[in-house]
Amino acid sequence: MSGSILINGLFIFMLAGFIGFEVIRRVSPLLHTPLMSLTNALDAIAVVGAIVLVGEHKSTLSAVLGTIAVVAATSNIVGGFIITDRMLKMFKSSRPAAKS
């Protein structure tokens, strides 16, 4: 692995960290619970790494571990999005003006 890949990754990590900080700082405390379940679902994007591991089937061990990893991450994706949407649907304003 060359150093440029490392630097490349660190740049992306730093920029995404700053964006995350600025964006999430603006999230209302009202929505901190759905925020956590949403970031959890997004974090399960790790599933892409696991999918490649299973698909490439380089060794039995990697395929087995990868399969369990895909199951775990997929359950986070599905469960995380469902519950986040369920929670957000419950938040209603007393001013019905915004509603169509």
């Binding site: 995350g20 759905p34 956590m36 974090d43 591991l53 571990l65 519950i83 957000l88």
Partner: protein, 466 residues
């Protein structure tokens, strides 16, 4: 070869799109009016990313991918349909699943690549696996405590912190050795096992009231381990998602520990609660005033401004729907009812907001601590339902109190304070609350759900006799 390279470019472009959608998704979470768009953006990004990954040229076996995706969906659906009161333990469990995925992928990559692995890669991989496995077991412990399968009180023993630091130290030493000698793969399982054990021991001494901070911290670890995995796989989308999740967890941890006036290290290494057990005995001589549901209803209906302070006790008693009935009954009489939410009320960030929203209480009635604290002197009645330490005035006045300096809701400044509580036992932190002995305080002894129910009956049954 050309075709492969073409595929790879398409995948990278799809990942770029998905990264943008993830950032938008979090941006839209800033307000309840746009938040659901955020979920849709996240879902779209996720679908694109998974679809794009399936184009990966190295994939030869689609069968197991399909089986795993279906199985994960089958497990995920019930996890998305749990009751709102179970959201804290569900969240802890999903941190565990996320960390499990990262740990397994890291482990598989190690055995595939060793001994042909660069020092940098091995260092990042060790970080991924250590963070992932301690988050996995730590989150399982947190979920167990929240589900009350495990005791919620802190479990402590002498030399606990020493043992914990020692374990983490050994794991790091093994990691460093593996960085220098990646061919010594027999050491890898030890590193994994020690990190798994460390996760258990890290969360065991943490009490229920500290859960909001711990869940946030585990969230940050899960994000950081996913970002480390992004470095190992040279996957930029993963680095972005991990950094976003990591910064979210970190921000929430900072908010939570500020709201408790404690540092991370204090939450993680200083189980509190035992200190005050003796001091409580000396306070018994003080008297408290109590009131019945009928008296409470009369006071509430005579008020102009009422602020309700919900706490974990409301969640335990499942009283949120009765609280909604109380809100309706009082609003109908022209009383202005608002809710004061302390950042650490409940068991995770935003826990109370979700429960009250579930009970259909409009979110613009839910106020943050900073927004409502100035209003308490003009408040006729502050009704505390199942909250304790977050209303304790000793945090402002008594420098010997373990919670001294913690920002609290200034309910004692309201004209009348009413506290619904089962008995005089101290809260989770085990600290006596001088609020209960104040002249303007009335204790309403009973179960939160039952007591609010009887107040509502008094208010609605008595009709317009006030």
């Amino acid at each position: 070869m050309n075709e492969f390279a073409g595929n790879q470019t398409i995948i990278e472009v799809i990942y770029l799109l998905a990264s943008a959608l993830f950032i938008l998704s979090l941006k839209w979470m800033s307000s309840p009016t746009t938040a659901r768009h955020g979920v849709w953006a996240g879902e779209l990004g996720m679908l694109l990313a998974i679809g794009g990954t399936l184009l990966h040229h190295g994939i030869v076996d689609y069968q197991w991918i399909a089986v795993a995706l279906v199985l994960g969906t089958i497990i995920g659906i019930p996890l998305g349909r749990v009751q709102m009161t179970a959201v804290p333990q569900r969240t802890a469990l999903s941190h565990a699943f996320g960390a499990l995925c990262v740990t397994l992928v890291g482990t598989a990559e190690f055995y595939l690549r060793t001994p042909d692995i660069s020092r940098f890669m091995m260092a990042v991989l060790s970080m991924e696996v250590i963070l992932g496995s301690l988050t996995f077991t730590g989150s399982l412990m947190a979920a167990g405590k929240l589900q009350e399968v495990l005791p919620q009180r802190p479990l402590t023993y002498k030399g606990q912190n020493f043992v914990n630091f020692l374990l983490l130290g050994i794991a790091v030493v093994i990691a460093v050795y593996l960085v220098l000698h990646p061919e010594e793969k027999q050491l890898y399982p030890f590193m994994l096992l020690i990190a798994l054990t460390f996760g258990v021991l890290l969360v065991i001494p943490i009490g229920g009231a500290d859960m909001p901070t711990v869940i946030s911290l585990l969230n940050a670890y899960a994000g950081l381990s996913a970002a480390a995995m992004g470095f190992v796989l040279n996957n930029r989308l993963l680095i972005v998602a991990g950094a976003l999740d990591g910064s979210s967890g970190l921000i929430l941890s900072v908010i939570m520990s500020k709201a408790m006036n404690r540092s991370f290290t204090n939450v993680l290494f200083g189980a509190f609660g035992q200190v005050q057990a003796t001091a409580a005995g000396a306070q018994e001589a003080k008297t408290v005033k109590s009131a019945t549901a009928e008296e409470a209803a009369a006071i509430l209906s005579a008020a102009n401004k009422v602020v309700v302070i919900p706490g974990y006790g409301m969640a335990v008693a499942q009283a949120q729907h009765k609280v909604r009935e109380l809100y309706d009954a009082l609003t109908k009489r022209g009383v202005d009812v608002r809710f004061a939410i302390h950042p650490v009320a409940g068991r995770m960030p935003g826990h109370m907001n979700v429960l009250l929203a579930e009970a259909d209480i409009p979110y613009d009635r839910l106020m943050d601590m900073d927004d409502i604290n100035g209003d308490f002197p003009q408040t006729d009645v502050a009704l505390v339902i199942g909250a304790n330490d977050v209303t304790n005035p000793a945090a402002r006045t008594d420098s010997s109190s373990p919670i001294y300096g913690m920002p609290i809701l200034d309910v004692d400044k309201a004209h009348t304070v009413m506290v619904i509580k089962r008995g005089m036992s101290p809260g989770f932190a085990g600290i006596d609350n001088p609020l209960y002995y104040l002249d303007n305080n009335l204790m309403l002894f009973g179960d939160a759900k039952a007591f609010v129910g009887s107040i509502v009956r008094e208010l609605t049954g008595a009709g317009g006799h006030v």
